[in-house]
Amino acid sequence: MTVETRFGRYGGRYVPETLVPALDELTIAWEEAREDAAFQAELARLLADYAGRPTPLYHADRLSAAVGATVLLKREDLCHTGAHKINNALGQALLARRMGKHRVIAETGAGQHGVATATACALLGLDCVVYMGAEDVVRQELNVVRMRLLGAEVRTVKSGSCTLKDAMNEALRDWVANVRGTHYLIGSTAGPAPFPVLVRDLQAVIGREARTQVLERFGRLPSEIVACVGGGSNAMGIFHAFRDDPVRLTGVEAAGEGLDSGRHGAPLNRGSTGVLHGSFSYLLQDAWGQVTEAHSVSAGLDYPGVGPEHALLKDSGRATYVGATDSEALAAFRRLAELEGIIPALESAHAIAYVLRGGEGGAGFASDDLILVNLSGRGDKDVHIAADLLAKEGVR
């Protein structure tokens, strides 16, 4: 099966000519590998024995009682390295090895993708360089140490807004200069084709497992699926298996200081169409096409772009995209810890916040609603940020 390069009018490959042959090579490699039983068996073995799949589907009783509906958490936070990012990193690192590329580069925001990539490279004996914005190096310091321990070189990016967008620019420049021996292991469903499909395919295991688990336990499909959206990989990962089912799909973007504050990371809610990092999608930009800075308390959602498949899902109405603010996310971070003994990543806390406020428009849920939330990662990396902000808000 061929890998699609467009989702409706979205997607494409808007990159320097130097990279196009590498994207062609990667497309062919993935078309072959995803049909290759031996490759799939090796990936399945690593996902099971190394990453800890399948992840549990947890019926969150006290959270359910608090919102008046049944809430299920897909526990990607229990994956090795602490987030869904490992699903993609293992798959692409195997693919890099298969293509004979010995050097892997990656961008990272929260550091979870950087840690996952450094881990997969350590496992497979590949050289690893991770680009990370200077601001994120500070706010996700723990993950910087983890990456270095795993043998990766972390390069601090000091251009632009010093966050994920700039790390991605720098990784693309590295790839332009070293394209022949290097694989660029993109961490989300963004970037030029074939990355949006490649990453979605590798993350789709989340939804496949969850669909089976929900049907086995409840004998019916969930009524709604909720996931946070940065570049969009954990959301596409859980949505994909349910795409043809009568199930509401809800993506939660970072509303930062408010969707109308001008300080957020919500391109699907408040952006316009254009090109960022190689694909045509929604992004935050000014009237001249200059990309504007995003803002979110969570580094993994602090990105002015979004994957092109989400742009199509938005336009077609198949999925709905809403926002959760910094303070809603912080409250949800704390609430989930108290109610369930689970400290979520600040990214995932945005999805929890939407559930806690009673869904779209705060309307509340029906008692027979079955809500499946992708708990994309764990919050160890965020405890010091949460401590500062909670203190600032006067929360004891």
């Binding site: 320097p16 196009v20 420049r173 169409t273």
Partner: protein
């Protein structure tokens, strides 16, 4: 959300707004005229036994006023065509020197219209080529963008993140305005891709001399001979080398193979390091003159 008067092309002065019936040569709207003004320059240079010299500067760098003086000084020193960059927030094809110049221009509020105005101010002396990342073209509105280019003396537009496979819609719109979309070819391009590029290119083909981003290098052009040989077998269009060419001797090497040479980062670096605009004009004019001599003429 956008204050009136900040809209692309909205409130601009001379030359930027498309004129109905202006420059007969450029705004005829026919395929035939696409790149005509560029071919004239290459034909004349060939007849005179020299290579075309195309200095690059980020539009509005170091400031709009100083930039216009630099452009005039490049032309005085023997530039055939001037390439002006539209500063962009996320220039993935550019190294640190060009990036920093774009950030400095953007910090002063330089817009696409300002860059077009710079070209328009010197349009009678030479044709201009713009370098614009695809999102700046899309945001402006491609039809209006290329019409404004034509009205400002811009004969070609290099879009560094628009590979040939994605270029058809913009090529068509640009052709309506008589503007050439300049395609790039790079060392990793396969023969099949060069075939595709040669089939769609107008004006000239931009040969990326190194596998990498823009910026000065001690060695450059090792990969150029092979790329040029593969392209010559597929096109009669002029070939222009750029990326990593920053000295007269590097330009001479590239000029042995190609019909034209672009120098960019070396000039921008000189400007960035100059204490005054007079010093910047003097040092850059020196490099342009020496490169001119290295390329004949």
């Amino acid at each position: 959300m956008t204050p009136d008067g900040m809209r692309p092309g909205g409130t601009t002065s001379d030359g930027v707004r498309p004129r109905q019936q202006s420059d007969g040569q450029n705004v005829t709207g026919g395929q035939t005229s696409v790149g005509a003004r560029l071919s004239t320059v290459f034909d004349r240079a060939r007849a005179e036994g020299r290579r075309v010299l195309m200095p690059y500067i980020t539009g509005g760098f170091p400031s709009p006023e100083d930039c216009t003086r630099l452009i005039a000084s490049f032309l005085d020193a023997g530039a055939d065509i001037v390439e002006l960059g539209v500063p962009y927030s996320d220039p993935v094809a550019d190294g640190p020197v060009v990036q920093a110049s774009a950030q400095r221009a953007l910090a002063q509020g330089v817009t696409t219209d300002d860059v077009l105005r710079l070209a328009a101010a010197h349009r009678d002396r030479a044709p201009f080529v713009l370098l614009a990342y695809v999102n700046t073209v899309l945001a402006y509105g491609p039809e209006r963008f290329f019409a404004c280019c034509a009205a400002s003396g811009v004969a070609g537009v290099v879009v560094p993140d628009l590979p040939a496979d994605e270029a058809d819609p913009l090529i068509a719109v640009a052709a309506q305005a008589g503007v050439a979309v300049i395609l790039l070819a790079a060392p990793p391009s396969t023969d099949a891709r060069l075939e595709l590029i040669a089939g769609k290119a107008r004006g000239f083909i931009y040969c990326v001399a190194v596998t990498g981003v823009t910026g000065m290098r001690a060695r450059s052009g090792d990969e150029l001979p092979e790329l040029v040989a593969r392209l010559r077998a597929r096109t009669t269009l002029p070939l222009v080398a750029g990326f990593g060419i920053g000295t007269p001797s590097q330009a001479r090497e590239a000029g042995r193979l190609c019909d034209g040479v672009i120098i960019g980062s070396a000039l921008i670096d000189m400007v960035a390091k100059s204490p005054t605009v007079d010093a910047a004009c003097a040092t850059t004019a020196g490099l342009v003159r020496a490169t001119r001599a290295a390329l004949g003429g």
